[in-house]
């Protein structure tokens, strides 16, 4: 996973409500998880390097602040993934459960070329990164 260097703030996910650009908030994981059934469409904005995520009753911009080196996409479909990691100890007498981490991934795929861009967001909503494919 490549951590991009040009993000506005690598430690927060800032969502700007489209209808009121002055209003921003930090998204928590529970909000993002709930988006799965509510997203109507997701559009990459080529000029501003942002995602428009159209949600029932509200429209969000997920602002990456990153100039992405990919070609302009045509018709896209939305992809969702939930990425889970869990750990086990080796050569350990510790039988306590190890960490379990969940990342939420939103993506778009151009239907014609299958080019994919993903936004990966950590469970606590404090770390996020881009990747051009899985």
């Amino acid at each position: 996973m490549e951590e991009r260097e040009e993000m506005n703030d690598p430690h927060e996910i800032i969502i700007t409500i489209r209808k009121d650009s002055k209003s921003t908030r930090v998204v928590q994981f529970s909000d993002l998880y709930a988006l799965q059934t509510e997203i109507e469409k997701m559009i990459y904005l080529w000029n501003t390097n942002c995602y428009y995520v159209d949600v029932v009753n509200r429209t969000f911009i997920i602002n990456g602040g990153r100039k992405m080196q990919i070609e302009k996409m045509g018709e896209c479909k939305i992809l969702y993934r939930r990425r889970t990691q869990f750990e086990k100890g080796i050569d350990s007498d510790d039988s306590e459960p190890k960490n379990k981490k969940i990342n939420w991934i939103l993506g778009i795929e151009e239907i014609e070329t299958k080019k994919v861009v993903f936004v990966q967001i950590s469970e606590d909503g404090r770390n996020w990164s881009w990747e051009d494919k899985l």
């Binding site: 996973m1 992809l79 969702y80 993934r81 939930r82 990425r83 889970t84 990691q85 869990f86 750990e87 086990k88 100890g89 080796i90 050569d91 350990s92 007498d93 510790d94 039988s95 459960p97 190890k98 969940i102 991934i105 899985l134």
Partner: protein, 177 residues
């Protein structure tokens, strides 16, 4: 609701094998058992020394509303204090040239594993390194279901010092759609 995915470890000859679901650890040693105590079953330092192989699978007991589980990755995410002299880990996990392993008729071996010919990755692989139905691009679409076998083996040499090796952590990862 998320899928329920755990690790299983299988031990013993194929005809009488036993499966441990969600073992608390995958300790390696000189006995073919799950959740073994390393101090009781130490690995002898010698030329071409090995622990018994570990034969593991990722097991999906419930899809939890997901339609696809794929992109399986396994790697050593922490070496604790690092490798001791002559210590290392071999595996069948690989991102290219993948070959599905078949559980051995006689069970896991304590000699050099014929299935674990790769070096265990110590960083997250860029792509899946464990297959489903023989393919790295395979998908699980219903439960219950297993991944392919992941074979791990701890290796030592005659130079490996006496005493405990460092405790390590292995990470298992999967995606749900």
């Amino acid at each position: 609701m998320a899928a329920t995915v755990v690790i299983t470890e299988t031990n013993g000859p194929q005809a009488s094998s036993t499966e441990t679901v969600d073992p608390s650890n995958i300790n390696m040693g000189s006995v073919d058992d799950a959740e073994l105590v390393p101090a009781t079953y130490p690995i002898t330092a010698k030329t071409d020394g090995h622990a018994f192989e570990k034969w593991l699978r990722m097991y999906v007991s419930a899809m939890g509303g997901s339609s696809i589980i794929d992109n399986l990755k396994i790697w050593l995410s922490s070496l604790g204090g690092g490798w001791k002299t002559g210590e290392g880990m071999s595996t069948n996990l690989r991102e290219s040239g993948y070959v599905q392993a078949t559980y051995p008729t006689a069970g896991p071996v304590e000699t050099n594993s014929p299935d674990a010919g790769q070096v265990m990755p110590e960083t997250e692989p860029s792509g899946p390194n464990l297959g489903i139905s023989g393919s790295l691009g395979g998908q699980i679409t219903s439960s219950p279901a297993y991944s392919d076998w992941a074979v791990l083996q701890l290796d030592v040499t005659s130079s490996t010092p006496a005493g405990s090796v460092n405790q390590k952590t292995i990470t298992f990862q999967y995606d749900e759609q």
